[in-house]
Symmetry: C2
Subunit: 244 residues, 2 copies
């Protein structure tokens, strides 16, 4: 079966040529399972493999000397993983499964071919890099300058967005798929305090919870609290060269 999760992801933004699509499909030829909690890449390991996550949710994180963990990002199907090995010999972050996942590994060298033969794809890779960078800066702002309540609201909206249905419509009700400890490690809080903030949002009827499923009862209010900025609108890839 010749599919590409990455292509599916960016399919909304651009019409790929058959040759481009073939190149992308080739990146996902191989596949490797990654169990919940299992580590795919360990920080500081030598590494020249990249991955595309094809199924499940994963995360990247850093561990500090005192044992605390900062989760850098959550990874969803179609996400590129381990791109820092384009620059650094050793992994800058650990990659692990949040739930059971499947990843498609490929060699760094595979990008050489793509960059050489498909200028538009390299432009597209730059574009997706920028989207990731902006997601990181959004979180940096949250950690640096917003309250615990805002950060918890923000991560709920972030997870909600990652669960957009195939038709692109976000669902107000979804399975979190994260423990409260993971949420805390992502937004710089303790699990205990995440729990208190969830309770508060619950008490205020902004969300409802039942067994790991969350329903956003008042998205407008949550968005306001969270300083939420939808990054789905206003995308413009007008500078891309023609596809080959």
């Amino acid at each position: 079966m010749s599919t590409s999760c990455f292509a599916d992801r960016i399919g909304d933004l651009i019409d790929l040529t058959p040759a481009e699509r073939r190149s992308l499909v080739r990146l996902e030829e191989r596949s490797r399972p990654l169990k919940r909690g299992a580590v795919l890449v360990r920080e500081n390991d030598l590494q020249n493999e990249l991955f595309i996550l094809t199924r499940g949710t994963a995360m990247s994180y850093v561990l500090l000397d005192d044992g605390s963990r900062q989760i850098l990002r959550f990874l969803f199907p179609g996400d590129m993983v381990g791109f820092s090995s384009l620059v650094y010999q050793r992994a800058t972050e650990t990659i692990a499964g949040v739930g059971d996942c499947v990843v498609a590994p490929f060699e760094r060298g595979a990008l050489t071919g793509i960059v050489t033969e498909h200028p538009r794809l390299s432009a597209l890779l730059m574009a997706t890099n920028q989207m990731e960078r902006v997601a990181l800066t959004d979180r940096l702002v949250a950690l640096g300058r917003t309250s615990a309540k805002a950060r918890v609201a923000a991560i709920l909206l972030e997870i909600r967005d990652s669960r957009r249905a195939a038709d692109g419509a976000p669902e107000a009700s979804f399975v979190l798929g994260l423990t409260q400890e993971e949420m805390g490690d992502a937004v710089g809080l303790t699990a205990v305090h995440v729990n208190r903030m969830l309770r508060q949002l619950d008490d205020e009827r902004l969300i409802a919870r039942e067994n790991g499923r969350v329903t956003l009862l008042n998205e407008a209010a949550l968005a306001r609290i969270a300083n939420y900025i939808g990054r789905f609108n206003g995308i413009d890839l007008g500078w891309l060269p023609a596809g080959r």
Copy 2:
């Protein structure tokens, strides 16, 4: 005069071909002054220009509704600025001068040519994007999981690194060029608390201060406190295609 600050920056990593160098020089043909405090790009403005900072120090930041500011990064000569406009119509962050600066503006479309004609340069752009991304994640870790003292130590080391002499040797003594408020806005603290942490580092003889000049008296201890990771070593661009 045909120079490229960007080329100078990456010159250590790679030998550019004459054609590659010409393409990069062309990006910096124009130049525009940017005074201390002046805004080059305002968040949310329509924007399809990119820049390379050629002189001085600038910064990018986001303002929140309550008036607080999160500085996302400091920019130094050779840094690319405003790349999020490769994806978003409206600027995702404000760019302003920290001191007096000079920037070289160029059109988004200029990248189309580079990507098409110089695969190795597009690969190099991806690589520099990754370096910036890693710098962002390092700061994310600092904000999410380290103490005020650690963050202040970290920003001192960051500024120190940005001041590396032409020969690549970092100097222990340098001019900060930032107010304590700017430092705080970068690492998620108030100016008051930045001051207290500087005093503490001073009292512990880890640094010395005189009129905006800082001397790192014990870099090893500072690095330990700051959870510092030097990102200058271990760089490997072995996957890059041949230059044209």
